[in-house]
């Protein structure tokens, strides 16, 4: 019985390792193809703009909505944790810094990943199962150039813009909550927010967002293009896309956090 369980665990671990290596190779290959396709940016400019609109403009309301709650929660939680020990002016500093460095980019990335990454996977997956990807290849058109590159650039451009708006909304909503709940008035909160502001915090956060834009679009593309046959295959691809993009965003968050702020 124990031997059987051991064999089962080993086989599960083996499968996990294999799929990890497979995804990693796919990730590197698609990234390589993305850079190779970069010379066609001018040719696909219209499509890139349309992707920026699709990823950016169409996600704006969602980002504003979620960011406002992020700001409110961050303020209430920060106040709960430090109000007894430090002056309230530092609540503004703590909230603004946390939002710029961490919460703004990560929450925006994860929220947009849920919407865009799965959408890209479903779109490319449907194209794959209806032979549209094969049709591109047989016409001598690289799907990476025609489909992946505009989406990835769309993600890289849109995410910092969305994050910048998300950060502003979160800090503003945090300030409102601080004022209405009596944690700190507008003046104290905003003075605190400005007190330890470093441009590096904001730009570092936006740089992270650009990488998250890459991660969520490339995840959708990889899983969509390798989608298996049938509706079930497309369904699996969309799930995989969200899981992969979330993992990539959190991994990149750690790595970039060390590089930029470490």
């Amino acid at each position: 019985m124990l031997l059987l369980l051991q064999a089962e665990v080993i086989s599960l671990f083996k499968n996990f390792l294999l799929s990890f290596v497979y995804i990693l190779s796919d990730l590197f290959y698609t990234t390589y193809e993305f850079f190779v396709s970069f010379k066609y940016v001018r040719k696909y400019f219209k499509e890139i703009i349309s992707q920026i609109e699709h990823i950016g403009a169409n996600s704006l309301l969602l980002v504003i909505f979620t960011s406002s709650f992020v700001g409110m929660v961050a303020t209430v939680q920060t106040a709960y944790q430090i109000r007894e020990y430090v002056p309230v002016i530092y609540i503004g500093s703590g909230v603004a810094k946390a939002i710029m460095i961490e919460l703004g980019p990560v929450i925006t990335g994860l929220v947009v990943a849920g919407r865009i990454s799965s959408g890209i996977a479903a779109e490319l997956g449907s194209m794959a199962i209806t032979e549209q990807i094969d049709a591109l290849r047989v016409m001598g058109i690289s799907p990476y150039r025609f489909l992946v590159m505009p989406r990835v650039i769309g993600g890289i451009v849109s995410l910092p813009l969305l994050t910048a708006i998300g950060i502003a909304v979160a800090i503003f909503s945090g300030m409102l909550v601080a004022n209405f709940t009596g944690i700190a008035n507008y003046l104290v909160f905003s003075r605190g927010a400005k007190m330890f502001f470093l441009p590096k915090d904001l730009f570092g956060g936006l740089l992270k967002a650009a990488f998250f834009g890459y991660a969520l679009t490339i995840s959708g593309s990889i899983t969509g293009l390798s989608s298996e046959r049938g509706a079930e295959g497309v369904g699996k691809a969309t799930t995989k896309a969200v899981v992969l993009s979330s993992i990539l965003i959190l991994m990149l968050d750690y790595i970039l956090g060390i590089i930029i702020f470490g």
Binding site: D134, R137, M139, F146
Partner: protein, 238 residues
């Protein structure tokens, strides 16, 4: 001329074994076989979408099996491919679908592209529908749209993957007549994979019969009629 030499292909088990034949310029070759006989796999190998385990596919003595992406693109410019499900791009109008090979590979003015696309749509009787999206077209119209896209860049070879499958008899007849007319008028070397014997006997100048992973017969329809093999006779009974 296309030469297929010693093609072997395996997925979980062998689907093609020692497949050999050639396609001469101006022929209309039908690869005939039951569902699952490996016809579509063979077609995909012939256009470089799949790699065989062994063997070569030569286009005028150039082997595409070992070709790199750049070399493959040059060969694919000579090829038009009509997929079983048409494979028109949902997000593009019929006009944009047909124009795609021209936009991607040739430096043409907007006017030249428009002229070629409209001529191509005219050839398949789809003039006037160019602004419609694939979702607004019937099955037969999609198929004709896919044919228009395949012929727009004047290919040397055209591949039809199951051209009449999934169509009602009347539409299938129209598609059959269209493929025959294009082959005659445009003098494109044509290849089709099908299990539709009515289509085969009406258009084929050469039949290649795939059965049980191997090529069992190469010849004309008259020669095919003389085969005694039970599976081959079944086509006539149908």
């Amino acid at each position: 001329m296309i030469k297929v030499e010693n093609i072997y292909k395996k997925f979980s088990e062998w689907v093609l074994e020692d497949v050999n034949f050639d396609v001469k310029k101006g022929e209309f070759v039908i690869i005939l076989g039951r569902s699952g006989a490996g016809k579509s796999v063979l077609f995909k190998i012939m256009v470089g979408l799949l790699k065989p385990e062994r063997g070569r596919v030569l286009y005028d003595d150039f082997n595409i099996v070992d070709a790199n992406e750049k070399e493959l693109i040059n060969i694919r410019k000579k090829i038009g491919f009509v997929f079983q499900g048409s494979a028109l791009f949902d997000s593009m109008t019929l006009f944009e679908n047909v124009a795609l090979p021209l936009v991607e590979h040739y430096k043409l003015t907007k006017k030249e592209i428009e002229r070629k696309v409209l001529a191509s749509l005219e050839a398949v009787d789809l003039r006037g529908y160019e602004k419609l999206y694939p979702s607004e077209l019937s099955g037969g119209m999609k198929k004709r749209g896919a044919i228009a896209r395949a012929i727009v860049a004047n290919p040397e070879y055209i591949f039809y993957d199951e051209p009449t499958t999934g169509l009602d008899p009347d539409t299938a007849e129209k598609i059959m007549n269209l493929t025959k007319r294009l082959w005659r008028e445009m003098n494109i070397t044509s290849l089709a994979v099908t299990h539709d014997f009515h289509f085969t006997k009406n258009v084929a100048t050469k039949i290649i019969w795939l059965y049980n992973k191997k090529v069992r017969f190469i010849g004309t329809i008259e020669e095919f009629k003389k085969i005694e093999h039970k599976e081959a006779r079944a086509y006539f009974i149908e």
